[in-house]
């Protein structure tokens, strides 16, 4: 099963959020709860953990600006689902 990880909706900002860096790369296997990337708002840097265990495909690259609820990566049970 494939799921998208989105910028948490709880962040209350209309300003762009910077994707500072990824700790993982396409095709990596990650465990639920492990830190995937660092986002930066005006107020703080924020590590985003994996919501489920699986293989990763990045949808955004380092330096991109993202908005609340925007998908930043996909996580799937198999690499085939991601086309990686």
């Amino acid at each position: 099963m494939k799921a998208e990880l989105r910028v948490p909706k709880i962040i209350e900002t209309k300003d762009p959020i910077k994707l500072v860096n990824w700790y993982v790369k396409d095709g990596d296997f990650v465990s639920q709860g492990s830190a995937l990337c660092m986002l930066e708002t005006s107020k703080a840097s924020m590590e985003i953990p994996a919501e489920k265990t699986g293989y990763i495909k990045l949808l955004k690259k380092e330096g991109d600006y993202v908005t609340v609820d925007e998908p930043i990566c996909a996580i799937a049970d198999t690499l085939g689902e991601l086309g990686v």
């Binding site: 948490p8 909706k9 709880i10 962040i11 209350e12 900002t13 300003d15 830190a35 660092m38 986002l39 930066e40 708002t41 005006s42 107020k43 703080a44 840097s45 924020m46 590590e47 985003i48 953990p49 919501e51």
Partner: protein, 294 residues
């Protein structure tokens, strides 16, 4: 355009999206409440909401002041008061089985009592519906009105907080022109005169351009005003529209200031990069009770 200072490594938070956090978010939305946590874009929101700690923002989400550090929308609510809000806050506390609740508000200079009557009603409704709950209020300065303050004091919150926000020299440039360092100190002093048993609390943000001596002077002023609980935290710029951060204060400096505050006789001092006035508020209250009883 002035480039923002790079964030130091100690200003990293971890987001979460678990069931408990979603439960709090759902309850906040179901009861149609505003929260300081979201309005102020607080970086502690993940940790606090995971623990079920929410700071409710009453009297709407439009503030009649334009402090230069704050992201809350400024405007004129034209006297509008949501008469059902006190009931919803009480119901929220019940649904969440809260044993400690912090209630704050926007400034409401458009209301004759600055919103003090609504504060009192919320305190009473929450307490009536939630036996044993501790209630902390973080109030605006009510434009210096002693009558308005007395309305809140008579409702007997467990803690009355009012933030001086910054040191005296920077106050005029950081806070709205209707606010002042002196008015804030007088409000805190007046609270103690009205009810010596009522615990008072205040805090300031560091990193706005103050020096250590000015912080110590402010802390002394707060202690002289009878303040029991002190909070010191890092100012964080909510967006490019607010004041930039002048300096990131190190955790070690916060630790040193915490010790200085304790030596001055505060009953509880919280100091650290992520400390805000309501951060771990319940724990501060318990620490104060423990120190008092010990």
């Amino acid at each position: 355009m002035i480039e923002a200072l790079p964030k130091p490594e100690w200003l990293v938070v971890r987001s979460a999206s678990d069931r408990r956090l979603a439960g709090v978010q759902g309850a906040v939305e179901r009861h149609r409440l505003n929260t300081v946590c979201r309005s102020a874009q607080c970086p502690n929101i993940f940790e606090c909401w995971h623990r079920g700690a929410v700071t409710v923002l009453i009297l709407g989400d439009v503030c009649t002041r334009s402090c230069r550090f704050c992201a809350t929308a400024a405007g004129d609510p034209r006297g509008f008061v949501d008469a059902d809000e006190p009931r919803r806050v009480a119901d929220f506390a019940g649904d969440m089985s809260l044993d400690y609740l912090v209630i704050s508000s926007v400034a409401r200079d458009d209301l004759r009592d600055g919103g003090a009557g609504v504060f009192a009603e919320v305190i009473e409704r929450v307490r009536d519906a939630n036996k044993g709950i501790r209630i902390e209020v973080l109030v605006p300065d009510f434009s210096g009105s002693v009558e308005a303050l007395a309305t809140v004091v008579r409702a007997k919150p467990d803690i009355l907080g009012h933030n001086v926000e910054t040191v005296k020299r920077l106050s005029a440039g950081v806070r709205d022109r209707k606010a002042s360092y002196e008015t804030s100190l007088k409000l805190l002093e007046a609270t103690k005169r009205m009810d010596a048993e009522l615990v008072t609390k205040s805090g300031l943000m560091l990193g706005l351009g103050e020096d250590r001596g000015e912080v110590i002077d402010t802390v002394r002023d707060l202690r002289a005003a009878g303040v029991d609980i002190l909070t010191l935290g890092q100012y964080l710029q909510p967006s490019v529209r607010q004041l930039p951060v002048a300096r990131y204060v190190t955790p070690e400096e916060f630790e040193s200031l915490r010790d200085a505050g304790c030596e001055l006789g505060f009953r509880s001092v919280r100091a650290g990069p992520f400390v805000r006035s309501s951060y771990h508020a319940g724990e501060s209250y318990m620490e104060m009770e423990w120190r008092t009883s010990g």
